[in-house]
């Protein structure tokens, strides 16, 4: 017994010694020194300071072999995950975007490479976080981090590492520093604004709905969209028939439960925030059963293949698609560049355009940091507050960091399915805004 006590005392003593030897390292300065320090490259890279994720050596297969290289990471869903059909073109769109930047001479004497650190994370937070930690020592920022929960999984790491990123999701939380620590540079509206603009447009151009219903996947997508529907109903004196929560067919098998909920609701306008296959099934089945309402679909509900499905007629008759910016046939300078990058071909779906447009804020941040002569992570992060982004006409110019309620983009594009349209849709009206969406008090995440 005595020896036990003595041993315990010895162990405690050792622990105490160890504890006194440990001390907290101040945030910031200690770490940067560890990261390799600042280099001052010569030649055409000028006087720009840089460290992690930027090299003096050219990128692999560089367009400009005399330039240095900025490495950006991509964490996407590229093979078996639920968003792979759209994530693959998104990534292709981003590749094309940065290839164009490089062909125009790069940024501050550096080319941009996103291919080297592109990783497939299957829309799984665990994979996302593991892959982030794998590529983090070699990248300056993230050109894409797909999904809301996955991005949230790496957010505290990104904060500690001073890594900014462009999201591939339209969650309302990205607009607020409270949710994204000012690290996520989102583009366009959020689902919450989307459903309000859509209903505003619907009320003005189709008919004033007495009852509105939201159908969607719970969470950052459907939940966000439904919050917008609920707010719209309150603001416009319409009846909110509720939020029908459903899930992808791979999980629930069929949308029969959602279909009967839609039938029972008797809503005039149903806002859908589901996948394309589920959209087709819900619209097809309800219209066949005699449902008289109209459907407004969020961006991801659309896939050109729906016009070849059994539900095609019902979709042509009752479906309207809301999008953050114009599709492939758009008229802006950005759209001209997108078409040029495709050499007259067509992308698989709108993901290509999403990827392209989502890339502008990171480009603007890199340019601003290069202009300040500081392409370190800290330098890049410091330009985010107040950063102005020019979308070459795809979206109105945006300002980051400032008052969200004032600066949030509250405009959408309304599309109708059209067999003649390039990706199965044609634009009815671009730059649509709405009274409810304009007046919405946007001060925190909707879902």
């Amino acid at each position: 017994m005595r020896s036990t006590a003595r041993r315990t005392a010895a162990v405690l003593g050792a622990v105490a010694l160890l504890a006194t030897a440990c001390a907290v390292e101040d945030d910031g300065d200690g770490e940067t020194a560890e990261d390799g320090g600042t280099e001052e490259p010569g030649g055409d890279t000028g006087e720009i300071a840089f460290d992690v994720g930027v090299t003096e050596e050219p990128c692999p297969d560089a367009v400009n072999p005399d330039n240095g290289c900025i490495y950006l990471g991509v964490l996407s869903d590229l093979s078996e995950g639920p968003f792979a059909p759209v994530a693959v073109p998104i990534t292709a769109g981003q590749e094309a975007f940065w290839a164009r930047v490089n062909e125009d001479g790069g940024i501050g004497g550096f080319d941009v490479d996103i291919a080297t650190y592109t990783r497939d994370t299957l829309y799984d937070p665990q994979q996302h976080s593991a892959r982030y930690r794998e590529i983090e020592p070699n990248i300056l920022a993230l050109a894409q981090t797909l999904g809301t929960p996955t991005t949230e999984a790496i957010l505290s790491d990104m904060d500690a590492d001073n890594v900014i990123g462009a999201p591939a999701s339209w969650w309302s939380g990205w607009a607020f520093d409270d949710s994204d620590q000012g690290l996520i540079l989102e583009s366009g509206y959020s689902y919450c604004i989307e459903s309000q603009v859509g209903l505003d447009w619907f009320a003005a151009n189709v008919s004033e709905p007495a009852t509105v219903l939201a159908v969607g996947y719970p969470g950052d997508y459907g939940g966000d969209s439904a919050a917008g529907v609920e707010h719209w109903a309150e603001a416009n004196g319409a009846e909110y028939a509720g939020f029908v929560e459903t899930a992808p067919n791979t999980i629930v098998g069929s949308q029969d439960a959602a279909v009967s909920a839609v039938m029972e609701s008797g809503a005039d306008a149903v806002v859908l925030a589901v996948g394309p296959a589920e959209t087709g099934e819900i619209i097809g089945k309800t219209v066949v059963s005699g449902f008289g309402g109209q459907f407004l679909g969020s961006v991801p509900t659309w896939n050109p293949a729906l016009l070849e499905s059994a539900a095609a007629d019902a979709i042509l008759a009752t479906y309207t698609n809301i999008a953050p910016w114009e599709g492939i046939d758009g008229t802006s300078a950005a759209h001209d560049a997108i078409r040029e990058s495709l050499d007259g071909g067509n992308p698989e779906n709108d993901g290509y355009i999403f990827g392209w447009v989502w890339s502008y804020p990171i480009k603007a941040a890199l340019e601003a940091a290069a202009a300040n002569g500081d392409l370190t992570r800290e330098g890049l992060r410091s330009v985010v507050d107040g950063l102005e982004v020019d979308y070459e006409g795809a979206l109105p110019a945006a300002t980051f960091g400032a008052d969200t309620n004032e600066n949030a983009i509250r405009q959408a594009v309304i599309n109708r399915p059209d067999e003649e349209g390039t990706l199965g849709v044609s634009t009815i009206e671009a730059e649509v805004t709405g009274e409810t969406a304009e007046a919405y008090d946007y001060t925190s995440a909707c879902s």
């Binding site: 390292e25 409270d178 996947y217």
Partner: protein
Amino acid sequence: MIGTAILQRRDRVRGRPLLYTSYAADQAILNTPAKRWWTAVLMIVVLALPFLLSRDLTSLMMTVFIYAIGGIGLNLVTGYAGQVSLGHAFFMGLGAYTAAVLGGAETDRVLGFGLDMAIWLPMAGIVPALVGLAVAPLAARVRGLYLAILTLGLVFIGEHVFKEARPITGGAGVGRSPAEPVLFGMDLHGTYHAFGYILPRDAMLYFVCLLIFVVLAVAARNLARSKLGRAFSAVRDRDIAAAVMGVPLQRTKTLAFAISSFYAGIAGALLVVVIGQMTPANWDLFLSIQFLAVILIGGIATISGSIMGAAFVVLMPRLVSELAGSVPFISTAPGSGFLTVFHVQTMLFGALIVLFLVLEPRGLYGLWVRVRNYWKAWPFSY
């Protein structure tokens, strides 16, 4: 553990390391010199790892420890006590959310009390253990396949409840940030220096995970060789016979469930801290099956097997993706090649479970025993 080792030294007959002169010496955890050496070397290696490995591999090693804790928990109920449980993911989720509510930061979306790890970590085990206690009376009435289905139900009910309990879990598709690993006021995510050296980031978290894992593993090993552990085995081997011998069935099964849930809860809470965020959908059947794979591949009813299984299940996918570059028919680029890395991982996983079940039901532990016995008897091993 140290006590028995020292006791044993006193009882040992010089030059006859395998001759035990007392029951305690025979039953000691590290009862042979080889085991003691192995353990010492392993501990030194594991302690040195955060200084040698890159950050992503360090967090992978943390995941190994955490999977080992969860695996040991499942092994206690399924391996030692013979109660097949598919509900492990539910208890892990429960632990994770208990920790997140007690130790997480409050936002306008979710609850959080921001308490110290010294509070949230034990609670992350205790709450699932209490729920395990509540479920056990039902579970103790059935066995075999029926028990598997009953615990399967837990996973689905749990997933649904997690999705709906938004203030606690953040809701489906969004999730919430985990508990803050602040132990006695010390932020384990921070950078520290000790004796003039700067410790790698997250090294403190690594050491704390390691410590928790070692403590829980030793506790489980001690439990397994105690009266309760023998009761577990008796119930597993034939519950009627055990009852005839005076082993209280209900109490033994209930305890097995509660202890296993405690381990699962701790593992769940730590897992989210390492990963960063989980949504309710992540606590699904697949996670439970992964833990079954840990104990099947590692070795049923062995603690060291659970650890080997955890290392295998966590590290194998990484190994495959590292090797993928040098194997021509596995593609790492999206949309090209015959098989993707993920196909290969899934197939290997399934194939290995089948192979172990058929060829070596004692798992990696069994393989280790064979290798050990071969060299022990060398050159007369046949």
